[in-house]
Symmetry: C2
Subunit: 211 residues, 2 copies
C-alpha cells in the first residue's frame, strides 16, 4: 500500500498547491475555485493533492493558517524592534494602507472566508475567529503599553477601523480610504480621557483635512 502521510516537510508539490490555492482563493473566492482547477494550475495530479491534504477543507484552513503566520511574523518582528507601542501601531497602520493600495487587493482574506463559511462550528470559520482573537489581543497589548486608561475600547476601535478600511479599500477608493484610516488611527493615538472627558492632543505638525 502507499503511504497516506508525507514525510519530508518541504515537499515541492505541496508548496505549489498552497501557492496556487492562495492566489485562486483570494482572487476568486473559495467556493468558486474547484479542486480541478487548483491541481491543474499547480501542475499536480489529484492523487498528489489528496496525499498532502485530506480534503479541500484542509487546504482552505492551511491557506488561512499560512496567511495568519505571515502576519503574525510581521507583527512579532515589529514588536521585537523595541520601538514605542504607539509607533508600532502607526507602523501597522501604514502596512495595512500599503496592502490595500496594492494592485490585486481583494479585501481581508479572513473576512472574505467568514462570509463564505458563516457556520460558527465550521473549521474554516473557527480559523478566522482564532486569527481575529489573536489580532485583537495583540492590538490591545500595544494600546496597554501606551496608555494608563483601559485599552479595550481603543483596540476594538482600531480593529473596527481596520475591518472597515479592508472593505473600503476593496470596494471603493483605496487612496481615500487609506487616508481616512490613518487619520482615524492617529486620532486613537492622541485621544485621552481626562476626568472622564474626551480630549484630543493636537499633533506637533497639524495637518489640514481631518475626519
Amino acid at each position: 500500500m502507499t503511504s497516506t502521510e508525507p514525510s519530508g516537510r518541504p515537499s515541492e508539490a505541496r508548496e505549489r498547491l498552497l501557492n496556487t490555492a492562495t492566489a485562486l482563493f483570494y482572487a476568486a473566492g473559495i467556493h468558486s475555485v474547484g479542486v480541478e482547477r487548483i491541481i491543474a494550475e499547480a501542475k499536480v495530479t489529484r492523487a498528489t493533492f489528496y496525499r498532502h491534504f485530506p480534503g479541500k477543507e484542509d487546504l482552505i484552513t492551511a491557506y488561512l493558517e499560512r496567511i495568519h503566520q505571515h502576519i503574525r511574523g510581521q507583527y512579532e518582528q515589529a514588536v521585537a524592534s523595541g520601538k514605542p507601542a504607539a509607533d508600532i501601531l502607526r507602523e501597522i497602520g501604514r502596512q495595512i494602507v500599503e496592502d490595500i493600495r496594492t494592485p490585486g487587493f481583494r479585501g481581508c482574506a479572513f473576512l472574505n472566508a467568514a462570509a463564505e463559511y458563516p457556520d460558527a462550528d465550521h473549521p474554516v470559520h473557527q480559523t478566522v475567529l482564532a486569527h481575529r482573537a489573536w489580532f485583537l489581543t495583540t492590538i490591545t497589548d500595544l494600546f496597554a503599553q501606551t496608555y494608563d486608561s483601559p485599552p479595550e475600547g481603543l483596540s476594538r476601535h482600531f480593529v473596527m477601523l481596520r475591518d472597515g478600511v479592508m472593505a473600503a479599500g476593496c470596494l471603493g477608493d483605496p487612496i481615500a480610504a487609506g487616508e481616512t484610516f490613518l487619520n482615524g488611527v492617529e486620532g486613537l493615538l492622541r485621544v485621552r480621557t481626562v476626568d472622564g472627558v474626551l480630549r484630543v492632543h493636537a499633533s506637533d505638525a497639524p495637518e489640514t483635512t481631518r475626519s
Copy 2:
C-alpha cells in the same frame, strides 16, 4: 407556447421565492445554497422559478436589490422627518447597533455578497457597489448639513466604522462592538477642525469609558 414573462405584479410564488432566497442566502452564503434547496423550501417547482427569474444570478441581484430598497426606505423616512442631520446620523447608528445585536445577524449582506463575487464586472458585484455608492452619498449629504468643513472625510470615516462594526458584530462580541461603534460615531459628530487643529467638543453629559 407558454409565456416567459409574468404579468401580474405581486405573484405569490415569486414573493415566496424571494423570501426563501433571502433567508437562505443571508444565513448560509450564496454559493452554498443551490436552486434545488430554494425551490424546495419555497414550495415552488423549477419551472415556476425559471418563469420569474431568468437564472440564479437574477435571484441574487433581486435579493440584494430588495434589501437596498428596504434600507433606502428607512433612511429617506428618517431624512424626511425634518430632524437635525446630526440626530439622523445618531439614529442611523442606533439602527445599525440594533441590527447587529439581533439574533441571526450574519454581517452586511452586501459585504458578504462582494466576498463571494470579487469580479468587479459581475452584476452581483455591481449591485453591491451601487448600494455602497448610494450609502456614502447619503451619509455625506447628512454630514454636509451638519458642518461647514468638507464632509467627505467624516462620511468616509462613518462608513468605515459601519463596515467594521458589521464584521465585529458578526465575528465578535456584538454588545461591545455596538458600544465602540456608537462612541466612534459620537466622536465624529463632536469633532471640529479649528484653525487646522483637531478639536473634540466635550459632551453635555460626559460619559465614562471612551475609545
